[in-house]
């Protein structure tokens, strides 16, 4: 037989496909083991597990991933012993199956990085021991060779290929390219719209203008449909992230000695791939946090008159142009008073400041770096990845997160994220003769001010608003280095944005309304523009800079600190 050798590129492509499939297979294995543990149809679950392990074995062999090949081979032997119904499926074997899955995952990560993996001998021994006890055949080479040919054929087909006829696997970059072009068209649309309205006012009665207008309306309609459908291509169901959680919750409840029921709702809610890729980590942290600090141990729950087993709910839904994800538990809840006390202890707040905080504001203290109310920092929740990073991550996605709680009844974290990052809703405004935009997601509220409303505390302008102090930021001073403390005599607007527990107000001259902006990145060849997150082109052809509120505030705080140091 002629031996075909793959070229480097072909091999690379094969590897890519292998990894995508292999990660999927491990996810499915996880689910199947979970259903085995839950006591669902044993035969069905085992058959699925076996089939996928077999696929993994074959594919890994072809690409020379020896460790994956060897371990899945061994796993097949182990699974064969389980086919015997007299072998009881106990916690031991479930744990072993999970362990195999974890080690396979580790190998995958290693191989993907281009590193070599080494076979986990302890795991192999564990498997051998199990098979000895269950009377299985430890050395299986022969049994395997004797497998009937037909069975092999049947085993080869994995479900990833089942619906090959209906699905396309396309490189995401290709989709991005088209999406970019659609973005350009959106800009083109507003340019045509602008020109048309000027034309209409000039030649009001011309029949031709009307025809052009009709054509334009038709084009606009089609374009927005095109845009919507293009976005949809990049949309993936959140179940891709959610399906990690049954395993996480199971492991954690074992570890913590807690009984937890996981409820997942709205798994089919779709969101943009770029968001999906990053949202997993923060969600896992929230789940861990709830398991660790929220849900009480069974005995404590019983004493409080609750069911021994706690419920953790993950819920996703669409709300207008946003996706809302709730992570809820029915545990002991968060105590705003305790948060305030702790903030004072940590020196984050003075007594007076703490007293002024509303309950909701007190709960938001949890997102401050280094703020954790757990008496003992545990291995799970206290591991570097804190609530502050959860918040930063959500904000980097132009989203928001809030904590709610009823002491004794439970707590909930609500994430609100945009459906996509390519097009944002933004408020356009003028400050210092220049046009800027701020994403609506970072705006808390907008108010009007007159010069007399502004007070000066410690050399900086502040605004008192419902017994809260808002530090005023002059964009001219911050962005262009000009010195401008003078607000003039005119009435102005203040756009209030929040960062951590502080509020800042950007002084702006006039508001230009809300717009949908297609984000374009700025050249960073000559210096990093940290205060802007990009630019966009308006229908008039003007370029507008999109400001990055958190970055501007961080900069403002640094300047403030610099002044204090200098003083």
């Amino acid at each position: 037989m002629h031996q075909y050798t793959f070229t480097e590129t072909e091999l690379g492509e094969l590897r890519d496909v292998f990894f995508v499939e292999a990660y999927e297979i491990l996810q499915i294995l996880n689910q199947e083991v979970l259903s085995l543990e839950a006591g669902h149809d044993r035969v069905e679950a085992l058959r699925n597990i076996q089939r996928h392990v077999h696929t993994l074995k074959g594919n890994s062999k072809a690409l020379g991933f020896t460790c994956i090949n060897a371990l899945s081979h061994k796993a097949e032997d182990l699974l064969r012993t389980l086919q015997d119904k007299s072998v009881e499926i106990d916690q031991n074997i479930i744990d072993l199956l999970f362990a195999i899955n974890d080690v396979l995952l580790r190998y995958l990560d290693d191989y993907k990085k281009g590193a070599e993996a080494t076979l986990d001998q302890r795991l192999i021994e564990r498997m051998d021991t199990f098979m000895m006890i269950s009377g299985g055949n430890g050395s299986s080479g022969h049994a395997h060779a004797a497998e009937p040919e037909g069975a092999k054929q049947e085993l080869k087909s994995a479900p990833a290929r089942d619906d090959a006829g209906r699905h396309l696997r396309v490189e995401s970059q290709r989709v991005d390219k088209i999406l970019n072009l659609v973005g350009e068209l959106v800009i083109g649309r507003s340019m045509v719209g602008q020109a048309l309205s000027e034309m209409a006012s000039r030649y009001r009665k011309d029949e031709f203008v009307k025809r052009l207008n009709d054509a334009n309306t038709f084009m606009e309609k089609t374009l927005s449909q095109l845009q919507k459908n293009m976005m949809k291509i990049r949309m993936l169901p959140i179940s891709q992230v959610f399906r990690k959680f049954p395993r996480v919750v199971r492991d954690l409840s074992h570890e913590k000695g807690k009984e937890v029921k996981l409820v997942m709702q709205g798994e089919n809610t779709e969101l943009d791939k770029s968001i999906l890729d990053v949202i997993g980590e923060p969600l896992i942290h929230l789940v861990r946090n709830a398991m660790d600090h929220g849900i009480e141990p069974p005995d404590e729950r019983e004493r409080a008159g609750k069911a021994r087993s706690g419920t953790l709910t993950l819920r996703a839904s669409h709300e207008g142009n946003q996706i809302v994800i709730d992570v809820m538990d029915d545990g002991r809840g968060l105590d705003p008073e305790r948060f305030k006390k702790r903030a004072i202890e940590k020196g984050v707040k003075t007594q007076e400041e703490a007293d002024r905080l509303s309950d909701a504001e007190a709960l938001d203290l949890i997102f401050i770096s280094g703020f954790s109310t757990a008496e003992v920092v545990t291995d799970i929740s206290g591991r570097g990845y804190g609530m502050d990073i959860v918040k930063t991550t959500v904000e980097s996605l132009k989203g928001k997160i809030h904590a709610h709680s009823r002491p004794g009844e439970g707590s909930a974290f609500t994430l609100r994220l945009p459906l996509t990052l390519a097009i944002i809703k933004a408020m356009l405004f003028k400050a210092d003769e220049r046009l800027y935009a701020l994403p609506l997601s970072s705006i808390d509220r907008i108010t009007r001010i007159a010069p007399k409303d502004v007070q000066t505390i410690g050399g900086r302008n502040v605004l008192r608003f419902r017994d809260k102090v808002i530090s005023l930021v002059s964009l001219r001073e911050t962005l262009t280095g000009g010195d401008d403390r003078d607000l003039g005599n005119k009435k102005k607007f203040v756009i209030v944005v929040g960062l951590a527990e502080r509020q800042f107000g950007f002084i702006v001259d006039s508001l230009m309304g809300q717009h949908e902006l297609v984000i374009k990145s700025l050249d960073d060849h000559w210096g990093a523009a940290t205060c802007t997150s990009g630019a966009s082109i308006l229908g008039s052809g003007r370029v507008v800079l999109i400001l990055d509120a958190p970055a501007i505030i961080a900069r403002e705080i640094r300047r403030e600190a610099g002044r204090t140091l200098a003083a």
Partner: protein
């Protein structure tokens, strides 16, 4: 006409400069330029070039030579260097002409207003001299980083004492 030896000549202040025509994509009138904060002073801002956002560099500031008033004759040369598209703001584009290689001389020792590292050579024409710029070198990020801190807007200087965020919060 053969593009090979053609040079686009432009004026900044009183001096005449030239760049090879193959780096110039187009020459446009100066549209509205949107300033970008935090950029070095010689970056005027960005423009919308048919839906693309292009950075504009003021060559006079970059080369530290005096330029004339902003007038209607000001132009932007859209150039491509190292696969990057950039606009150069100049006082006027005067002409495009052929400059045979034999009439180009290496950067002279005579004093020019521009550092020799930015000059590819000097073109000798019957009635004038034209300084051929080495755009690759002028626009190199390393070269730009070499610029002293006073080339940056004052804001950067005010930023120096960096205290941890928490301290202020």
């Amino acid at each position: 006409m053969n593009k090979k030896n053609q040079v686009v000549a432009f004026r900044i202040g009183k001096e005449l400069f030239g760049v090879h025509i193959y780096v110039v994509q187009e020459i446009v009138r100066v549209p509205e330029i949107t300033p970008v904060p935090e950029m070095p002073l010689f970056v005027e801002g960005v423009i919308n070039l048919r839906g693309k956002i292009v950075s504009i560099i003021d060559l006079s500031k970059r080369l530290k030579i005096e330029r004339g008033q902003k007038t209607k004759s000001c132009r932007i040369l859209i150039i491509e260097v190292e696969r990057k598209i950039v606009g150069l703001l100049v006082d006027a584009v005067t002409e495009i002409f052929r400059l045979p290689p034999e009439s180009i001389e290496p950067a002279p020792d005579i004093v020019t207003s521009v550092g020799t590292e930015y000059i590819m050579g000097v073109g000798k024409l019957p009635d004038k001299l034209i300084i051929l710029l080495d755009l690759k070198n002028i626009l190199k990020p390393e070269e730009i980083r070499k610029l002293s801190s006073d080339e940056r807007p004052a804001i950067e200087a005010a930023n120096v004492p960096v205290a941890p965020l928490e301290a202020a919060a």
